[in-house]
């Protein structure tokens, strides 16, 4: 770990919304390139970046569409930058091909999705959390990604740094899954001094070109990178490839590559996953939630506790990789999980799968466009506690 480049760090207290806090987080993390295409409710992130970056030292380009912005950042990363793009549902759908390319070429980058109501054009100005499964499954083929879900402007700042760090550490695109409420909610955000911000450095090789194999790995399954212009004359392709990065059109190469891409995430899941846990030890009922819904759920939990119920809280700061083991462990000792989401039941399916019949799993769906009323969640907690 190194510390942040002070040029990007706007140390101090700010009353800003989640979108803007996200921009500041990316800047603090060292992002000096962003390519974007406007879409409500995410545009403020790149608007602020466009305003800030010329005085920090970097570049922003508004591309012609999301296809372009999602691959321009990959070009920038191979050119040496830390880079990200920002979008919402419809644009996220358009980025799916390049999410796959980033996975396949192991290009560290961050894609921010400020979720709105879907499907299709849906509710452009209103919140949703219905792209959570898309984040995991939206591109063709098998892969694993990392997805984080902030619950406040402060976390939009803090976790976008985490997103970049994970992305560099595991050479994987990290999806920063905000939602319209968090994105447009304004609160105090404290930005610490640069020297208090830890940055995971790019894993550049120290090997000379003759010895360097772009996709050879050691212990933690993550290969070392080089940048264009460094004299390595390397090749990168979205085709299945061997350790040299050359196309290898056979099932053996496929098996080796694709499994490693999954394993580097799954085998490191413990190092990746962050959870916020509270009152789990004595809980009868555990509320599993993420993003803005976690704050609504918190209120419901307090109401339930006030009624004497033993309710625990498990907030998924990291949504993907899914904390399978945690759920399995809890399932053996709690009565039920209650899973409120701003969708008709997405992450609850994972909870259900991992609970494996050991505990009841109760979905508290919501079609989006607003958040739950705490009472809606409370009701289901009460039902679960019965």
């Amino acid at each position: 770990m190194i510390t942040a480049d002070p040029k990007g760090v706007l140390t101090g207290a700010h009353f800003i919304d989640g979108d803007q806090a996200c921009t500041e987080g990316c800047l603090a993390a060292g992002a000096r390139f962003a390519a974007g295409y406007p879409i409500t409710p995410s545009t403020e992130v790149v608007e602020r970046f466009a305003r800030r970056i010329p005085t920090v030292g970097g570049r922003f380009i508004q591309m012609e569409d999301e296809l372009a912005s999602s691959i321009a950042i990959l070009g920038a990363v191979w050119g040496g930058a830390k880079a990200f793009t920002v979008t919402s549902g419809p644009g996220f759908s358009l980025m799916m091909e390049h999410l796959g390319l980033a996975v396949m070429t192991e290009t560290p980058c961050v894609i921010v999705n400020v979720q709105r109501g879907g499907p299709s054009t849906g509710l452009p100005t209103l919140p949703g959390q219905a792209d959570m499964m898309q984040a995991r499954w939206g591109s063709h083929g098998d892969y694993e990604i990392i997805a984080l879900s902030p619950q406040s402007p402060q976390e939009c700042f803090d976790l976008s740094i985490t997103a970049f760090n994970l992305s560099e550490q595991f050479r994987v695109p990290v999806l920063f899954m905000m939602d319209e409420v968090v994105g447009h909610m304004t609160e105090k955000v404290i930005i610490p001094p640069a020297e208090e911000i830890e940055i995971y450095p790019r894993r550049l090789t120290v090997k000379p070109p003759e010895e360097y194999l772009p996709y050879a790995v050691d212990g933690d399954l993550v290969p070392e990178m080089v940048h264009a212009g460094m004299g390595y004359r390397f090749h990168i392709t979205g085709l299945t490839h061997d350790e040299r990065g050359y196309p290898a059109m056979n099932p053996e190469a496929q098996d080796k590559l694709i499994r490693r891409l999954k394993d580097k995430i799954l085998e490191n899941a413990d190092r990746i996953i962050t959870l916020e846990e509270e009152g789990l030890d004595s809980a009868d009922v555990v509320v599993v939630s993420y993003g803005i819904t976690a704050r609504v759920a918190q209120r419901a939990i307090e109401l339930a506790r006030a009624k004497g119920l033993k309710v625990g809280k498990l907030r998924l700061v990291t949504v993907w990789p899914f904390p399978e083991q945690k759920i399995r462990d809890l399932a053996g000792r709690v009565r039920a999980f209650v899973v409120p989401e701003l969708n008709l039941g997405q992450i609850v399916r994972e909870v259900e799968r991992c609970a494996a019949g050991q505990a009841r799993v109760i979905s508290v769906p919501h079609a989006g466009g607003s958040v739950h009323r705490p009472e809606q969640i409370l009701e289901r907690i009460e039902e679960a506690a019965k």
Binding site: L126, E187, R295, P374
Partner: protein, 204 residues
């Protein structure tokens, strides 16, 4: 301050969100409290209903939404119609009195009016009506220190417009200090009826 819920509402173009921002910033940056501002607006850039919700508190705000606001600032008729009945007993409704005709007041709620648009126009820019409203709010509610509010105004408006905005703030504040608020249907407030007359004229 104790947890206070506040809504600012109007139509797009009136600077509703900025008004909320200034109040929130004053409370959380220039006083040492916490504020959470959420917003809702229509799909378009301008013209439709728009509102900002603020939760002000001494402690970090958990649940970011308001349920029953203590204070409503209504800058359009639509806003009033939609939100006035939600205000909690003992609360206050601040209205742009030339744009809002007060049809019904929830029991125990105080109504205070200001011709903010007209005052803003007098200052020279209709756009500052929201800042007039913020000043008015400051004076009527005394929830937040005047200086904190003023600093928040200065910190939030485009450079070059600071002076005009501070003037607007002060104008609203002064007006607020002098104004009387009503607790029942204020027959006397010269709202829509007047307009009707004028339009009838223009259409006849």
């Amino acid at each position: 301050m104790a947890l206070t819920e506040l809504r600012v509402a109007g139509f797009g173009g009136q600077g509703v969100i900025l008004a909320g921002m200034i109040i929130g910033k004053a409370a959380s940056i220039f006083e040492n409290g916490y504020a959470t501002l959420t917003q809702s607006f229509g799909p378009e850039a301008r013209g439709s209903a728009c509102s900002a919700q603020l939760v002000l508190s001494d402690e970090p705000v958990l649940y970011p939404y308001i349920t029953q606001p203590h204070i409503l600032i209504a800058m359009s008729q639509d806003a009033y119609n939609k939100f006035a009945t939600d205000v909690r007993p003992g609360g206050i409704v601040l209205i742009e009195e030339e744009l809002v005709r007060v049809s019904e007041i929830p029991p125990g709620v105080k109504i205070c009016g200001i011709p903010a648009t007209r005052l803003a126009e007098q200052i020279g820019k209709r756009l500052v009506l929201n800042i007039v409203m913020v000043g008015f709010f400051g004076a009527v509610t005394k929830l937040i220190d005047r200086e904190a509010l003023r600093k928040a105004v200065a910190d939030s408006v485009p450079p070059g417009t600071t002076e005009m905005n501070l003037q607007a703030f002060d104008r609203g504040y002064e007006y607020g200090l002098e104004s009387r608020c009503a607790e029942q249907l204020p027959e006397s407030l010269p709202v829509e009826r007047g307009l009707e007359g004028q339009f009838a004229g223009s259409e006849s």
